[in-house]
């Protein structure tokens, strides 16, 4: 396919209702951490951006949102063109002052520490990190607890950032500052706000 076609096509078919649907999925995901919410396939973004990550981007990004994208995305002319055309996002080169981060390659992801954590007075001025994964039946099962979870919930994303449990414990430790995570899987999403606690599943 020609690059220009890839850039202009594949957005929401109905901006108003598609974005409402994806936002409600995000809101429910944030309000019940680790719950997997199906959103179907609402966008077709050029590689390396997945359909789900594309839908989340089209729902949350605009000219008021500063976004840091990882190398595979910034290196792709069609991917950056698609994001710019469909969202009008403000690209930010420094992850520590971006409102959002879009991660396509979890292996090369910077540490959670390097993203914006907000200040004690404005803890909301932190980065919401959107990570692309394949699915939610990965080998490592995490047991989550905290606000939004009645007792505990098992959560097993197919991939996690390196040393995730340690990094997340540190992130939880600086509450109310900290980053929030959105996991964009295949046609479904889940979230982990900074309030969520992890305990590794005992064998």
């Amino acid at each position: 396919m020609r690059a220009t076609t890839q850039i202009y096509e594949g957005g929401f078919s109905d901006t108003v209702f598609n974005s409402q649907e994806v936002f409600r999925a995000l809101m429910d995901a944030m309000a019940s951490p680790g719950r997997i919410i199906d959103i179907g396939s609402l966008t077709t973004a050029p590689t390396p951006i997945s359909a789900t990550a594309g839908a989340v981007a089209a729902t949350l990004f605009d000219h008021d949102a500063t976004v840091w994208c990882d190398k595979p995305i910034t290196g792709s002319v069609p991917a950056m063109g698609w994001l710019k055309f469909h969202t009008g996002l403000e690209v930010n080169l420094n992850p520590s002052d971006a409102q959002f981060a879009l991660i396509s390659d979890l292996e090369a992801m910077p540490s959670l520490e390097s993203f914006g954590k907000g200040t004690s007075e404005y803890p909301d001025r932190s980065t919401t990190i959107i990570v692309q994964i394949e699915n939610f039946d990965g080998p490592q099962e995490l047991t989550l607890s905290g606000p939004g979870i009645e007792v505990t919930r098992t959560f097993a994303p197919s991939r996690l950032p390196r040393m995730f449990v340690e990094q997340w414990t540190a992130n939880r430790g600086i509450f109310p500052r900290g980053v929030d995570l959105i996991f964009a899987g295949k046609s479904a999403l889940a979230a982990m706000p900074r309030t969520t606690r992890i305990s590794k599943r005992e064998a």
């Binding site: 409402q20 429910d28 729902t59 949350l60 909301d124 606000p147 939004g148 979870i149």
Partner: protein, 300 residues
């Protein structure tokens, strides 16, 4: 003839919705923290629930069923006009039944019927800052929240005890959310505070004039501030509802005549009507057989 132009779905433009939605996600991630947002002018005056309306407009979709209450009632001015507003600009289903609603926008009450998973309660908030009447400067209250410095609030409650012998705050009673932020639950009676604690529903708060959004996710600790020797207590009523006979619901006093006569009825109209349709009666219930002859001045 078809209309030439209509409002965008749910009135707000998409860019405004995105801005509010981003604020809501942050609010859920930091329970009880007031997220600043660029509140818009709405086609109703400040104080009529512009914050709640903006939150509802940003989250509502065609699959939702909306209920709007004002002091617990579905049939008071504010509730009726906000419900009509959303019917006009979003054509969503509306209801007065608490159990049927997916979104409940409220002014100053939490329904008596326990809320369920999947329901969202949207509060209209006049003054979101619980410390505002103790410290008028935003720069200072922000620092106090940052440093978790809430001593002043306890001093206020203590002064209540010193002057009245008990904590005299009866509405907008401050709560601590998830052991961190002290939060104003909006001017709900303190009777409703225990319902916020570990509620299965998502609670969103919108303050339009003050430009703040905050939230309590489901199953979140919400503790009313108190002292060991003066524990938090809710209001109790000496008589049951005059129409449905309910004990343990929050009652409003209704004046009946100019001779000092009054009755107490449930403030939650849906709850009261449900009980009446199940056959419960209060001491002023009109008996259907005598209803025509015996006009007690009681609205049925």
């Amino acid at each position: 003839m078809t209309e030439l132009a209509t409002y965008n779905f749910a009135y707000l433009d998409e860019q405004t919705k995105r801005m509010i939605r981003r604020a809501i996600l942050k609010a859920i991630a930091i329970p009880g923290y007031q997220v600043p947002f660029a509140s818009r002018e709405m086609p109703m005056p400040y104080g009529w629930g512009t914050g709640g309306v903006q939150v509802t407009a940003a989250i509502i979709g065609p699959n939702d069923t909306l209920k709007v209450i004002d002091q617990g009632a579905d049939d008071t001015t504010n509730a009726v006009s906000i419900r009509a507003f959303f019917q006009k600009v979003s054509s969503v289903r509306v209801t007065t039944k608490t159990t049927e609603a997916t979104i409940i926008q409220t002014r100053h009450r939490i329904p008596e019927t326990a809320l369920q998973t999947g329901q969202t309660l949207v509060y209209q908030v006049p003054i979101p800052e619980p410390l505002r009447f103790l410290e008028p400067r935003e720069t200072e209250t922000r620092k106090m929240h940052a440093l978790e410095e809430y001593g002043l609030m306890h001093v206020k409650l203590y002064e209540d005890i010193a002057r009245h012998g008990h904590i005299a705050t009866t509405y907008a009673y401050p709560v601590k959310v998830e052991g961190r932020y002290v939060m104003d639950p909006s001017p709900t009676p303190k009777f409703d505070n225990p319902k916020m604690h570990r509620s299965p529903a998502l609670q969103l708060f919108g303050a339009g004039r003050e430009k703040r959004i905050y939230a309590i996710p489901p199953y979140t600790e919400v503790v009313s501030l108190d002292f060991e020797d003066h524990p938090f207590e809710i209001q109790t009523f000496s008589e049951p509802c005059a129409l449905c006979g309910a004990r343990g619901s929050y009652l409003d006093e209704v004046i009946l005549d100019d001779k000092g006569g009054s009755m107490f009825v449930c403030s939650d109209t849906d709850f009261c009507e449900d009980r009446q349709s199940e056959g419960h009666q209060g001491h002023l219930s009109a008996n259907p057989a005598q209803a025509d002859t015996h006009a007690a001045g009681v609205e049925k």
